[in-house]
């Protein structure tokens, strides 16, 4: 079992996550369009992946040996862009061009537009298949790189997800680690009311995946789960991360309406000051 993170490392990662949340609120407000709720719920997962685990280099974004990341829930592009900017893939100021004409920051991630994007996504249900393909390619090349992906819990309603689930388990893609951002909400309401994909962990276990359940806002738990996944042989791992949609901005938390709505400028100031307070606590 790998080392635990030190308390110092955890608080440094929490600072990154807060800064990423700050950027998310800023950029969605500036664009007056986009998806804040599901971006905020995945911030701790992306922070831990990019700042504590993944082998990626902003100065060599195409390096063959790099780990790969697929944001299957592509509408959460703001969290990916904010993370990549925080990591130094491009200047943070560019975040404010989100969703504008001629911007590299498309409404949904486009791998032809921006360095650091390993797969174009936006149509739900397709990312896990691509992640499985990347994992298979790495295996064929004897490349030790690992592949990570994040799915939405509503996204699990897409049949293609389960086709990919079968595929990844059948071909024993143990270099593939997936997360479900289990925030309980989709656009039309709670997942349990719209079209229940529950129970989630049991389904993945039945599809022959190694399953780990964690609190998706606990950086240490996210880190530990990733380390465990690396030790599992012959199976892909699904980390079911219990999260809060809109996490960090209390007015947005657990409100389905904040799925795809931009804050007004006044709301934005209030939300940003909240995030500042959290950071200085």
């Amino acid at each position: 079992m790998a080392e635990k993170l030190t308390q110092e490392q955890v608080s440094q990662l929490e600072k990154y996550a807060q800064s990423i949340r700050y950027s998310i609120v800023q950029m969605v407000t500036e664009a007056q369009s986009g998806h804040p709720g599901g971006s905020l719920s995945a911030a701790d997962i992306l922070t831990t992946l990019y700042f504590a685990e993944m082998n990626v280099n902003p100065n060599d974004p195409q390096a063959a040996a790099r780990d790969r990341f697929v944001l299957s829930k592509g509408h959460a592009a703001p969290v990916l862009y904010a993370t990549l900017a925080e990591k130094g893939f491009f200047p943070k100021e560019e975040l404010l061009t989100l969703r504008r004409i001629d911007s590299r920051l498309q409404g949904h991630p486009s791998m032809k537009n921006l360095p650091g994007i390993d797969m174009s996504t936006g149509s739900l249900g397709q990312g896990l298949s691509a992640a499985a393909g990347l994992a298979l390619a790495a295996r064929l090349d004897n490349n030790a790189s690992r592949v990570y992906t994040v799915l939405g819990d509503g996204e699990l309603e897409e049949g293609m997800v389960w086709e990919a689930a079968m595929f990844a388990a059948h071909y024993k893609l143990d270099n593939l680690t997936a997360f479900v951002d289990f925030n309980g909400l989709q656009i039309d309401g709670p997942i349990s009311e719209v079209l229940s994909p529950l129970p989630i962990p049991e389904k993945w276990a039945a599809f022959n995946w190694h399953v780990i359940k964690i609190d998706g806002h606990d950086i240490q738990a996210i880190y530990d789960a990733i380390q465990t996944a690396k030790t599992i042989k012959g199976k892909p791992t699904m980390i079911v991360a219990q999260t809060i949609k809109g996490k960090g901005v209390c007015q947005m938390e657990n409100i389905a309406d904040w799925h795809g709505k931009a804050p007004s400028r006044e709301q934005c100031e209030l939300f940003l000051s909240q995030l500042n307070e959290l950071e200085t606590q």
């Binding site: 369009s33 504008r100 409404g107 486009s110 039309d188």
Partner: protein, 311 residues
């Protein structure tokens, strides 16, 4: 500005729900955006959310129709015509089942969501399937009439709707005739044939051309399939030049459908205004229409070009 065609869809669907007990509505986690939520509120027992599962949406629609219901199924055009193409072909159109696919957020004017959500191939895909009827309303009133037609017609229908508010072109006394083109202005030098949100731009272009001394006929083709061959052949005979305009790829859509009629009947010079074999991108709708050359100015320029090609 009038209503977006999706808004008009939501309103009329509720009215039709009162009239026809057999109407059942399905959506795939986009009911607030597609406006089927209006029907869902009025008739909760006849509304079913299938979740984010567009292929299942079409399959369940097919089964409901086979069971005697009149299903209206809605999601974004990308995920209806795109994701579920083969289910539409094999489960709905092959058995000619009575499913109405009302697909919203079509075209570039989805806007900021970008290329992954901008369906610019759906007319092409849908019109290539036998038994399918394809309708693209231009404004709120035409939408109300088209949806009413769809509810009363027996067979599969694809109706393409938009996200953005569009100007009202028609009043309440407008009659929608299935498969019949609507002439909005007469002219002798060129005919501009438009569909959907481009009809407004076509009218505007005709005004600009008039100022330049060019007389343009403007024709609205709301039913792309079956297409009004007579109106196209007559336009070719009367004006000798055609411009088509659509918020869709120039491959396979209205332009292709009109060209097919022309080459087999009365070839005349023709220009297509549409998306030129490229993906869209994020941006506000007006900026996108400009960048991808879908404005009244672009139509007027195409008209001048096509007139110069006349022998």
């Amino acid at each position: 500005m009038g209503l977006a065609t999706r808004e008009a869809y939501g309103e009329i669907l509720k009215e039709l729900g009162e009239k026809y007990e057999n109407i059942v509505v399905l959506d795939a986690d986009l009911s607030k955006s597609t406006k089927t939520a209006v029907f869902a509120k009025a008739f909760p027992q006849r509304f079913f959310n299938v979740g984010i599962a567009e292929q299942n949406l079409m399959g369940v629609g097919a089964g409901l129709a086979a069971g005697g219901k009149i299903p209206f199924v809605s999601t974004f055009a990308m995920f209806a015509a795109g994701r579920a193409f083969e289910q539409i072909r094999n489960s709905i159109c092959y058995p000619k089942l009575n499913v109405k696919i009302a697909a919203t957020h079509a075209g570039l004017t989805v806007g900021e969501d970008g290329a992954s959500h901008q369906a610019i191939e759906d007319i092409s895909l849908m019109r290539s399937i036998p038994n399918m009827t394809v309708i693209v309303p231009a404004d709120a009133e035409e939408t109300r009439k088209a949806i009413t037609f769809a509810a009363e017609y027996d067979g599969p229908v694809y109706i393409r709707l938009g996200r953005m508010a569009v100007p009202d072109l028609f009043t309440a006394d407008y009659t929608f005739e299935h498969g019949k083109a609507v002439q909005l202005a007469d002219g002798k030098d060129v005919t501009i044939i438009a569909t959907g949100i481009m009809v407004g731009a076509a009218k505007e272009a005709a005004k600009q051309l008039q100022d330049a001394g060019i007389s343009a006929r403007v024709v609205n083709i709301h039913t792309i399939k079956p297409i009004d061959k007579e109106a196209i052949i007559k336009a070719a005979a009367d004006t000798g030049a055609i411009v088509t305009c659509e918020e869709h790829s120039i491959i396979g859509g209205l332009g292709s459908a009109v060209a097919e009629v022309l080459v087999e009947n009365s070839p005349v010079p023709m220009e297509r205004v549409g998306v030129c074999d490229t993906f869209g991108e994020s941006g506000i709708p007006s900026a996108l229409l400009k960048k991808y050359h879908l404005t009244a100015e672009d139509i007027a320029a195409a008209a001048k070009k096509v007139i110069s090609r006349k022998k």
